[in-house]
Amino acid sequence: MGEGEILLHIQDLDITFEPGAHAVRFLELDIRKSEIHGLVGESGSGKSVTSTAVIGLLPSPPAKISSGKIIFKGRDLLKLGKEEMRKIRGREIAMVFQEPSKYFNPSMKVGEQIREMLSLHFGMSRKSAVERVLELFNLTGLGKSNFGGGRRILNSYPHELSGGMKQRAMIAMGIACSPSLLIADEPTTALDVTLQMQILDLIHDLQNRLKMSILFISHDLNVVKHIANRVSVIYAGKIVESAAKGTIFKNPMHPYTKLLLLSIPDPEKRGTPLKTIPGTVPDAESIPSGCAFHTRCPYVRKICEKEIPALKEYENGHTTACHFAGETE
């Protein structure tokens, strides 16, 4: 299936939240080495729950992982002990969050917040850790003089930095220990459009240099189209389609992906109404039977209401979960 060695393999992952919310349903996802994998979904689709499960930070209770495997470099993360998992966090799998102003400790200097993880994971001395932090600032463009230089950022509190600078610092923190997998959860959603572009370019550039894999979570198809190599679409806790970027945007197979692409306003289609998906995104407490999309699908047939379609491969590396994939044109 496709090319490239698999770094992270999620199999049959099933997560419920007390009482009775089915957030992630038998999810399957492969992330290959050195790829930017875009995970697209609407609010409540389970994309953040999935990434939180990967990094082992789901609060339990209320969350419960009832089945599945998360294989990372040959080990099932779900079987690891707390301490083993802690050593992987930040070191092997790191995370970048949506709102840097909330996700930094407000009363601790930015430099210290990055330094402490270097000392912890690598046992680095304070001095060499600080050197490494400055190096990271240079990598993320924070060393430039128009930001006052890396030393100034080192000793700044988060609120003293602008939104764009904070997100750069957050990315510096994410790549601090050169992880093999970086999870970026809506890293540009809170930013202005012009800043968003700069941060996307930065992430792209860093991936090129450091060759890590990135799981890029977003609700914005345009953003994912810009940055990802592969794209998976998640709906109601299940991957409905996954393919290389070129394939999925040119030749989407699942009706949800198709309609989602058509519902984006495009100035070139002025004057014609947008294609819409009727109804609303189902919440995790009442997921429709069979194919979860059947209540909104224009191509719905009898079987869709009863049977959950499996994620099947149709062309090389292009998988989709629809009973009529390839038939609905």
Partner: protein, 308 residues
């Protein structure tokens, strides 16, 4: 804003507060009915006697002159002599202040020592036996008046078992029971605040970041969350401390400690206007000073506050 400018700004605010309080107390005393001179002179005094006392007090001069005179005495920390005993007010206050200071310091320390660790543990181990114990303790602490607690403590540890003296002042042992009864009431408040504050911090997003970085739970809780959680606790404790410095009147009464509270209480009974006047300004000054120190501490803990 750099810390030093912040400190200077807050210091001016302190001066302004004291000035404002002095002005208010000056006018209030002159507005309330009754001529202090007549009160001092007594019912049988002649007009001449009253006039003489007035001259001695300076209340015969125009109000503007009196006001300037008053401000000067505030600035020099010299509040004149007591109308009753004739002793300098400043001297009386300073003589009593160490007692109240000791009482309040020990009180707040005991309160914080009991409340903060218990509050933190309660928050970290929510709904555990420790948490229930803490909540029970804070309920009791809030419900029980401190004078009653004081009496009980006296009965237990001074009458039944002679560990501590029954009353009076002297060495540290005279302060243990009164500061404990004072401190326990504060502990109740501080404990609840610490717990709530710690719970809130632990639910914030930066805690997720700290965990995602692979920090140990100890670092997450005690390096990241605790410092932020203590910010409001420090502020409230500081203000509580300020209140106690104004004199814990009832506790001083129960334990017969000759502190500031009792001095002012006597002053009020005896209509000793100069003493009351000086006392109010002194309390205002101490209170503002504590606030000032708390503000500085707060801004060191929470760099964000310096912006505004």
């Amino acid at each position: 804003m750099p810390l030093i400018i912040f400190i200077i700004k807050r210091f001016f605010r302190l001066i302004l507060t004291v000035l404002l309080v002095s002005t208010i107390i000056f006018f209030v005393i002159r507005v309330i009915p009754g001529d202090p001179a007549a009160v001092i002179a007594g019912i049988d005094a002649t007009q001449a006697d009253v006039a003489a006392i007035r001259a001695q007090l300076g209340t015969d001069k125009p109000i503007s002159v009196q006001y300037i005179h008053w401000l000067r005495s505030v600035a020099l920390f010299d509040f004149g002599n007591s109308m009753i005993t004739g002793e300098p007010v400043t001297k009386q206050i300073l003589k009593r202040f160490p007692i109240t200071l000791t009482l309040a310091t020990l009180g707040i320390l005991m309160g914080m020592l009991i409340a903060i660790p218990l509050g933190v543990i309660s928050a970290v181990k929510r709904w555990s036996p420790v948490d229930y114990f803490g909540m029970l303790l804070s309920q009791i602490g809030m419900a029980v008046p401190s004078f009653w607690l004081g009496i009980i403590l006296l009965l237990l540890f001074a009458v039944k078992i002679h560990i501590f003296p029954l009353f009076g002042s002297g060495g540290i042992k005279y302060y243990i029971l009164p500061s404990l009864s004072l401190g326990l009431a504060r502990a109740a408040v501080i404990l609840r605040l610490t717990r709530a504050s710690m719970v809130e911090e632990l639910s914030k997003e930066y805690i997720i970041t700290a965990r995602a970085k692979g920090l140990t739970e100890r670092l997450v809780k005690y390096k990241h969350a605790l410092k932020n959680a203590l910010i409001p606790v420090i502020t409230v404790s500081g203000i509580q401390f300020g209140y106690m410095l104004g004199g814990a009147i009832i506790i001083e009464q129960v334990f017969s400690l000759p502190g500031l509270g009792r001095l002012f209480l006597t002053g009020i009974y005896q209509r000793d206007f100069t003493l009351i006047q000086g006392g109010v300004v002194f309390i205002a000054f101490v209170f503002s000073l504590i606030n000032f120190l708390v503000d500085i501490l707060y801004s060191v803990l929470n760099p964000k506050i310096r912006v505004g």
